[in-house]
Symmetry: C2
Subunit: 474 residues, 2 copies
């Protein structure tokens, strides 16, 4: 690796406020064993899937109800101590790290499915319900919830980071799929946003303001999301291409033609190698699209024919079909585990993950140049992409103890982001800003827009106790 | 009509701040003839399609650029005078009325299509471009913009009120279709929100905070929206039913089965009568669904077969097809003009329009009981509905000079809204809150949520100059 010198801004600023013993005593009095200061529990809540190493929070509270969340926020307001909502810890951008100290508020025990309204295609859950748990709960209704980040994340966490995944190209992201929320404000007020109606023009869109606010404007205690009828027919296939460029250009054409493809995922040869090893598969080790088609049998047939023709134009091989539901599940599980497969391919490493999303016509330039730069730099990496959305992830695999490796990865990431911004894209399609992309956010949207976000934050959280130090600094 | 006594809260509170002559002089110096204080111009900008009568604004400025908007907002901030952005004046809820006086900022001359990015399925326009103008501009690309409120509204106004229309059941509303905005803040800062990327997790969703904020948080000066490929096949049909209940129940089943119907509109016999008269049509005067199907030829055929079977189950007559594109246009133009046809059916009347949207399973109860109440009260009305979304409009036709008629209409509206809220719906699906639904907003979302909206407003517009007195009072 040909690495530049590390620069200090690559690591987050840590400035932990003390956790007053009186606060801990008050929490312990209220929550008993559900308030822990044990180091192992705090450490478990003081990290996520990011590459950063920050000392843990001062205490962890396990909430079981909205009322519990209210108590924690009222006490936190009284003592002016940070509160970081915690689901299952799968954030990639340092969202959960206690850079300013405080309380980790674990909502994973708030995991009840509150109301399945199949006849309205909606479900209301507590924030600690995971996406797999949700789908298991609604299975018998013939409906499903499509949003699927790689990890089995909680619905609360997914709402907080505006998550998406492989189905977003057809079904949208959490932005489009959250109908209503219950949120506890910084001062401990319980607020309802939205209704179960499909559309609304009733005042400011607080639902979508909260979705993607990364725990900095409120703690989500209930989420109502849309469900979709399970498609009558589902077909999944892989298609290998001679080059990444061919696979990307085929994707661009699929989207531009308006094919309602349900999933259109890119893996490069590198990634397939590690996925094969991790998931015991034998996919061909070349650039590949993993696709899924949803619809009526004849609708799916039409989509497949169109996409096959496009793929062939770009030199794609014959489709390899996942013939059974079990094979499909195996394929998509392997895809979802690509991140973990990538990280495990270099023992002891951490992944620095990129997340740009660009207008579809610019995907080839944005993606291929980034790959060329990584290869020229000689850094180990994996590449996966929700390419149907113009969103792709490079995972640079670094030794976290070697500053030069981090610096190189961050330099490549910066070049990649700048390229995406130049063509009208965003620095983050789905992972959020967290600690890691605060500078990029300013580059993307400008100081004035970030100042508008700051003004909203200060209005709703005057003591800066809700996940402080994320998205922007105050 | 059996009317209760009128209650004073049915009319908006008017408390106009004076327009300082120094401000008018400064505006006239800058804008010359593009700043007018002529009564006829002010009156034209002092009304909309609502039933309210409020004295006009103190002056009207015709902006031609973002820089013009900046100047107006800087001066308005300096003089602490309200600014009301104005497109073509088709709001239904009093959004444009100068209840606190000030300047009407007419952006209808900012009507350039700035960038058609067909290969990315996006277009960027100035706020004064109307939906028809936009579709004309992109026609040659094979793409279209689906959002279609009845009037030929401006894209800026549609964004500001989170508008939708007949295609929303398939393509979503302005909430789902605005990708990015340029907005001028109260203090005159130019802010960009969003990018042309299809999805993003980059900080607070300022785009969706601005969409639906009714001009109270900023003045929209550019809008980037999604476009869609013109469907390969389009078929439109009407289907008559013996009763409203049958038509509504057929709709519920269409949606619950997940049929990707592009339009699913209900008209009652009353409305068809006035539409026939207004648009010189001869539609059968009974409850009717107007439907449109988009897709591939075989996909459309499948949808039609499914919907025909559902309609038949509910006693629907055979489909009457709009055979040619011209017939289709005629049918949908008639539907878009239903509001105006309704209003014209009673000379001198004003319509008080309802706009509830409910979870689809509750549509029959919500709609049929409202119709029964209107009939029992003997008030003239029309009924149209974007029923595929659970959204319908009663238009109560009142003599604005007879307080008892207004009071009766408002009482029926209140009963209708309360019913919708009881079943998890919203008081406004697409028209916005404006002056007319401020009390309903509190009933719907609670005082705490409205206070959160207030806090945001005060943070972003500390002098309360942006369309003050709308959505909530401060």
């Amino acid at each position: 690796m040909n690495a530049p010198n590390p620069t200090p801004h690559l690591l987050p600023t840590v400035n932990q406020r003390p956790t007053p013993p009186e606060l801990v005593a008050a929490l312990q009095q209220h929550f008993g064993e559900r308030c822990s200061t044990a180091l192992v529990v705090r450490e478990q809540h003081g990290r996520d899937e990011s590459s950063f190493d920050v000392p843990p929070p001062g205490a962890v509270v396990f909430a079981q109800s909205t009322a519990d969340v209210v108590v924690v926020l009222q006490l936190a307001t009284q003592f002016k101590v940070p509160v970081i909502a915690f689901g299952v810890g799968t954030s990639l951008e340092g969202h959960l790290l206690a850079v300013q100290g405080g309380i980790s508020l674990d909502v994973s025990r708030m995991n009840q499915v509150l109301s399945i309204d199949a006849e309205d295609l909606t479900v209301t859950v507590q924030p600690g319900v995971t996406r797999k748990q949700l789908n298991e709960a609604v299975k018998s209704t013939g409906l499903f919830f499509p949003i699927d980040p790689g990890a089995d994340a909680t619905i609360g966490g997914m709402a907080a980071t505006r998550a998406s995944g492989t189905n977003a190209v057809r079904y949208g992201t959490m932005r489009e799929n959250v109908l209503a929320l219950e949120v506890v404000s910084a001062s401990g007020e319980v607020i309802r946003t939205g209704t179960r109606a499909k559309k609304s023009a009733a005042g400011y869109d607080l639902t979508r303001l909260m979705v993607g606010s990364e725990g900095t404007l409120g703690v989500i205690t209930e989420v109502t999301v849309k469900l979709y009828p399970l498609p009558e027919a589902v077909m999944a296939a892989t298609c290998s291409f001679a080059s990444l460029a061919d696979a990307v250009n085929a994707t661009i054409q699929i989207i531009q033609l308006g094919v309602p493809i349900a999933r259109c995922e890119l893996l490069d040869a590198n990634t397939i190698r590690v996925v094969n090893a991790h998931s015991k598969l034998s996919l061909q080790e070349s650039a590949m699209l993993l696709m899924e088609f949803h619809g009526s049998p004849s609708g799916v047939k039409e989509q497949v024919e169109t996409v096959q023709a496009i793929a062939a134009e770009h030199g794609g091989a014959s489709f390899e079909w996942a013939q059974t539901p079990e094979e499909r599940t195996r394929l998509w599980t392997a895809r979802h585990n690509a991140y973990f497969a990538g990280v495990q391919s270099r023992p002891g490493c951490k992944a620095i993950t990129t997340d740009t999303c660009v207008p579809i016509s610019r995907l080839a330039d944005a993606l291929l140049e980034s790959v060329n730069e990584a290869q020229a730099a000689g850094i180990p990496y994996f590449l996966v992409g929700h390419v149907g959305d113009g969103n792709f992830h490079m995972g640079y695999l670094i030794d976290p103890n070697v500053p030069a490796e981090r610096a190189l990865a961050e330099q490549l990431n910066q070049q990649l982001v700048e390229r995406a911004l130049r063509v009208g894209g965003t620095c983050t399609g789905e992972h959020g800003v967290g600690l890691h992309k605060m500078d990029f956010l300013v580059s993307e949207t400008g100081v004035s827009a970030v100042n508008m976000m700051r003004a909203i934050k200060q209005a709703l959280d005057p003591h800066n106790i809700l996940n402080p130090g994320k998205i922007f600094t105050l």
